[in-house]
């Protein structure tokens, strides 16, 4: 089972929602669609499922053209961001409905529903109605309905957004386990880079209806093809600093400069944008050639047990991603260290021209 999108365009009332997407999903792969809201994730999933036909282009499933084929004739399932269940049916009948409609024998239906419910830890809720369940349990029911029927393609449209933080982490782990033994294509849309990294598999980065990059999640993360992908696939977004390469030096604006290290020596002279991940800028030097910058604190944003520290001086505006909860006074002068050997360099088109060779951790 493979899914191929060929040069897909989708135009609604003159507005282009999807533009020229070519994508090939391998059999049994777990794919993450990463992009901000309105990037076209949901539209792309609807095109994959066949809920809407694309304006141009072809959709191939197993090498067969299914572009205009209705969703009823395709073996797909979908889980939405909202908890969508049939309120008039019990959890059991909700999960059983795809099987019943496919005329699976009754004993087999019961067996598979129980099996799926156990996998999702809702076997004790089978006699209840969806509105009697908590949000997490409702979403598990919806997932049960999607997983029970052995679909060739399973689509998850931000299924965890409406759940609380703890449940989300739990679900994410289970989800990967569930798919380890299945031979279907899973597509999972999310706005959060961390979720994409946690789920692994392959990642497609979408931006304004275009596909920026597709590949193994780690590759896309470590080797972004352009500046947009790098910004998208980093939370908080990667710091971008314009710099000039001339002779043997890199100059940021006019005053801050450092000698070209070995990695950057291959760059021809010219204007570049240098990217550095927020987690790579530190409060202490990590190696001898780190660039020390005198900055002031703008804001310390605490997210979970992490701190996003926004700092600036007259040339730079940087975000630091620090582990642990740190407190800083606004306008407090501090020193931060800019790792010169962990720089990405992008040319004026935004394409990547240099990737740091020593791949760091998150």
């Amino acid at each position: 089972m493979s899914l191929i999108l060929e040069n897909i365009d989708h135009v609604v009332n003159g507005a282009t929602h999807i533009e020229g997407i070519d994508l090939e999903l391998a059999p049994g792969s777990f794919n993450v669609l990463l992009g901000r809201t309105l990037a076209g994730k949901t539209t792309l999933m609807r095109l994959m499922a066949g809920l809407e036909p694309p304006t141009r282009g072809r959709v191939l499933m197993n090498g067969e053209d299914v572009t205009g084929v209705s969703v009823r004739r395709r073996n797909v399932s979908m889980v939405y961001q909202q908890f969508i269940n049939y309120p008039s049916l019990t959890v059991f009948d909700n999960i059983a409905s795809p099987l019943k409609l496919a005329r699976v024998p009754k004993a087999e239906v019961t067996r598979r529903v129980r099996e799926t419910a156990e996998m999702l830890h809702i076997e004790h809720l089978l006699d209840r109605y969806p509105q009697e369940l908590s949000g997490g349990q409702q979403q598990r029911t919806a997932m049960g309905r999607a997983l029970v029927k052995d679909a060739d393609l399973i689509l998850f449209d931000e299924p965890l957004v409406n759940l609380d933080y703890k449940l989300r982490e739990e679900f994410r782990q289970e989800l990967r386990e569930l798919f380890r033994m299945r031979n279907c294509i899973a597509v999972y849309a999310t706005t959060e880079p961390n979720e994409a990294l946690a789920l692994g598999g392959h990642t497609a980065v979408l931006h304004e209806g275009r596909l920026l990059q597709y590949g193994r999640t780690e590759d896309v993360y470590h080797r972004p093809g352009n500046i947009l992908t790098a910004e998208m696939f980093s939370e908080p977004p990667i710091n971008v600093v314009p710099g000039l390469v001339s002779g043997a030096e890199v100059t940021f604006d006019k005053s801050v400069h450092f000698r070209l290290n070995e990695d950057l020596r291959s760059l021809p002279p010219g204007q570049y944008s240098f990217g550095v991940r927020p987690s790579h800028v530190g409060l202490a030097p990590q190696s001898a050639d780190d660039l020390e910058l005198q900055v002031r604190v703008d804001l310390a944003e605490i997210s979970g047990s992490e701190t996003f520290l926004h700092v600036s001086n007259e040339l730079f505006h940087l975000v630091l991603h620090l582990a642990g909860v740190h407190e800083f006074a606004v306008d407090e002068p501090i020193k931060v260290y800019f790792p010169t050997h962990k720089l990405y360099a992008f040319d004026h088109n935004g394409s990547v021209v240099h990737i740091p060779p020593r791949l760091g951790s998150l």
Binding site: A49, L51, V71, R72, Q82, I84, P87, P98, L101, A102
Partner: protein
Amino acid sequence: MTHDATTRQDARVSPSTGTSPSVASAATAADESPRLERARARRRGGSVGRSRFLLALYLILMLLPIYWLINMSLQSNSEILGALSFWPREVTFDNYIGIFTDSNWYMGYVNSIAYVSMNMLISISVALPAAYAFSRFKFIGDKHLFFWLLTNLMAPPAVFLLPYFQLYYSVGLFDTHIAVALAHCLFNIPLAVWILEGFMSSVPKEVDETAYIDGYSFPSFFVKIFIPMIRSGIGVTLFFLFMFSWVELLLSRTLTATNAQPIASIMTRTSTASGIDWGTLAAAGVLTILPGIIVVYFVRNHIAKGFALGRT
């Protein structure tokens, strides 16, 4: 003065944490003045008493005609026409017995119920698909068409009286139940579409899609999944259909003669050579309100949402 003191005392007492008002007031009543307590109690009691009084007055004014109708229905004609009495001196059920034994009378109810049920059936079965289309699909002029439906409710039925009469007469529908049922569709179908559209739009369209993904065909989805989801909306709609069709007099009277004559029309023809039969008329009136009360009882919890056309 009293008022001032009370407010000050309130302000002082309320922040004291954990003290229930009764304990606090008991304490203050002891060391300050019992007069304040009484004043406060009077004020509280006074406002409750006033609102109860207003409510009672309102209910009496509203229910008075209905009470009077019931009162009259249990009296003989001579008592009705005699001295003013606020309750029946001699309770008689002759008026009701008369209605239930005279086919001219009870057939009026049968006729009314017949065409109202037909109208409810036709209206709901036409309105369900129409409302679904308005709620789910975009097509050219959909909003204008939807508004046009509402404007049908604005035209007085009298406008349509002549064309209906002439048309039905020439095709032989005059004086049949279906004639009235069809005529009432004029205002009932738009109303039903409006109410149902609101209820349907509150069901996310992802439910429809999930059903298609699961493999439901459209008809089985509509019947097995969708209709149960808007059950209460359908109930409310049926109530409104019943109500408007039941109380409509002009069309139903004009389009019928004897075979399908509605009860309301029969009630307007009670004057005979011997005068007006007040008691029977009152009893017929009571029997005409009853079905409405029964229907309202069943949809009482959903009716507010129905008045908001499902858009809450």
